[in-house]
Amino acid sequence: MSERGLTDAALPGSPGRVDLAHLWKQRWFRWPVFALGGMIVLQLVEWIADPESEELLSGGQAGAMLRWSVPLLLAGLGGMFAERAGIVNIGLEGMMVLGTWFGAWGSVKYGPVIGTAIGLLGGALGGLLHAIATVSFGVNHIISAVAINIMAPGVTRFLADEIFSGYAGGSISQSPRVASFGSVELPVLDRVSWLTIIAFAFVPLAWYVLWRTRFGLRLRAAGEHPSAGDSLGVNVYRYQYAGVVISGALAGLAGSFIVTELTGIYREGQTNGRGFIGLATMIFGNWRPGGTALGALLFGYADGLQLRDRDGVHALLLVGVVVLAVLALRRALSPKRTVVEVGLPAVIATLIVVWYLLRDTVPPTFNQVTPHILTLVVLVFSAGRLRPPKGAGQIWRKGEH
């Protein structure tokens, strides 16, 4: 059943040989190339759609894209840490909700810096709960996460009523306004929050931790083959705990970011399913930090765009066409192609082009679900190339395997 990527994981011939194909396999090389390619595509689309429009990749747009992609990036990295340790975390949404409230509360009381740390801890608390249930008690990962997702909004609403209601401007469903983290002026991107910079610094950091440290190796072993780790004296439970708590902390940070950097206020329901999009981001990124960042930029771009310009959203359809065309082409060039795999994206792409030509705007909710649709497309057409951790979702008990 398992489709081994034998074709693309060919043996590296002699160790010293450096060629493009080999270079392409290196993450550090591939990611910037993708990003560059994405920018070029956007520029092209913009030019085709409307030579006068500045919106698709203006400086402001680039800044917005960056800003709106941060929560998705952090949630995606969070999901990655948990799943790399073998624990599926669809509770990211709930942990992010906790992050928004705790972040807001902390910021109101102690200012944005300490507030952000408190938001992070709030999310970590959710992660800890998930870890206790799944790792210590062997509860199914989905079930535990669903419980957290149900509970978190109740907890925050309760807390908001208890605490925010006492402040001017606060109520059961919102906090007083909070200050933001502080920012720095950068070329092209305008003002960029320090927190945004920190968030993006997590991308190489996560890679380094997971692939270059003892902690990361053991954490990944817990997610790939826990029994192998166990037989070599690795305390699998400990690393699973670590993975899930880090996961919750990152989700909490994401929630806190929404409050201090995006809206400047805690509002009930403001995560708006971003935890789930974070999960989508992680899948899109093939459980890797670089890929997750790419996914976050793409999805965050869609998220940020709708706020600014409906024509831009319209033009975004063309981006979808390009993505699908590339998919179809790649399938067509692969030796294992099937009619469906090549045909379906081609047909969908054609339909989108027709739609684009017939209508001037798209429903504003359309690009809210771009990430979801794209993730489904990725799952359907690249399932064989995705490489989730082998043990993710399985309940591992020491001594029973």
Partner: protein
């Protein structure tokens, strides 16, 4: 004799876990209330007093009816180890489309309702068929696929409603379904036993549908070959396959069946009280359905109890704010704690049950390695 005692103690253990979960939730909620400066005893007393009123009971049952259907929809998938997280999107989409169809047609009473029900079930089934097909053809994990499809479905509904608002300046809701499409209340059923139900409360006639769904689910699973096949696929897919159960067909059947039931979730409210689809339609029942199915251990009777507990919590919580005892959100916290405590308790008791059974079987059989039996 010992076997009988053992099975009785196991039954007791089965009940002990959910009861313990509710008690733990009470304790946790009490602590939270105390920390926040409320008196938990006052709060529970008001909730009890208010909750036992006839009108509140009607509210609770009306709330429990959709929850029960949601629980059954989820449980059907669970029995096959399929996580239909998509119940949420399936029922919301189904409710909107069915309501739309209901407003557009005019048929004699029962037929009108039947068409709406049929449409709702078909839409739910169709939306559930998407992840099912993706799973059997492309191996896409149904949890991820249904999460994505929930967002897509809900966003489609939102786009529909917003579009309406944009164009016609209307409220963000559909038109009303005609009189013939309403399901009459069944207060007479209660009034046989007690006084008249007041304050305009109507016990949903859809209660009967929920009961029928529960019975149908139970009969299907425990009394039919199909149900056996379904449970076998859930218990051990490879063994089921070797026994002649076509696994892909079972995934499709379970998922689509689950979606069809999910299509019904919104109808008690729409056909019994609202008669339209709009902002006042309650969302989140799909996720609560997961909780209810878990708490009820996928058993049709257990789900009744779980749905009623959640229904009563919801129906009796408004009094907390009226009386100023505590914020009503304490109830959501309780629900969460109940789910958590229950799943942990189930996981723990399940493991101890396994251990005891293995030990008991080893005791019951005096084996030495040289014993050779078998004389057919």
């Amino acid at each position: 004799m010992t076997a009988a005692r053992r099975s009785r103690s196991e039954l007791l253990l089965g009940f002990a876990a959910p009861v313990a979960a509710v008690l733990i939730a009470l304790v946790v909620a009490s602590i939270v209330l105390m920390i926040s400066g409320s008196n938990p005893l006052d709060a529970w007393a008001s909730m009890w007093e208010f909750g036992t009123r006839l009108e509140t009971s009607v509210d609770a049952i009306n709330r429990a009816v959709p929850l029960y259907i949601a629980g059954i929809a989820v449980a059907l998938g669970f029995r096959m180890n399929l996580f239909n997280i998509g119940v949420e999107g399936q029922y919301i989409l189904a409710a909107l489309v069915a309501t739309e169809v209901g407003t557009k047609i005019d048929l004699p009473g029962p037929l009108h309702v039947a068409v709406i029900v049929l449409v709702a079930m078909s839409v739910g089934a169709a939306w559930a068929a998407v992840p099912a097909i993706l799973k059997v053809t492309r191996g896409v994990n149904e949890v991820i696929a249904t999460i994505m499809l929930n967002a897509i479905g809900v966003s489609f509904v939102a786009a529909e409603l917003l579009g309406r608002w944009d164009s016609a300046g209307q409220d963000t809701r559909t038109a009303d379904i005609g009189e013939s499409g309403h399901v009459p209340g069944i207060n007479w059923l209660l009034e046989i036993f007690t006084r008249d139900v007041g304050k305009g409360r109507e016990l949903y006639g859809f209660l009967f549908v929920a009961i029928a769904v529960g019975i149908g689910y139970h009969v299907l699973l425990t009394r039919t070959v199909f149900g056996y096949d379904l449970r076998a696929s859930g218990a051990n897919p490879s063994a089921a396959e070797a026994s002649g159960v076509p696994s892909k067909r079972m995934i499709l059947a379970a998922m689509i069946g689950s979606g069809a039931i999910a299509g019904l979730i919104g109808l008690p409210d729409i056909l019994g009280e609202l008669y339209h689809y709009g902002g006042d339609f309650s969302q989140g029942l799909g996720f609560l359905g997961i909780a209810v199915a878990l708490l009820g251990r996928n058993h049709p009777g257990g789900i009744v109890a779980a749905a009623l507990i959640f229904g009563y919590l919801d129906a009796s919580s408004p009094i907390l704010e009226v009386e100023g005892d505590a914020p009503r959100e304490i109830v959501t916290i309780m629900k969460g704690v109940i789910i958590f405590a229950a799943v942990v308790a189930y996981a723990v008791t399940e493991r101890s049950r396994r251990r005891r059974q293995v030990a008991a079987a080893a005791d019951a059989v005096p084996t030495t390695s040289t014993e050779i039996g078998a004389n057919p």
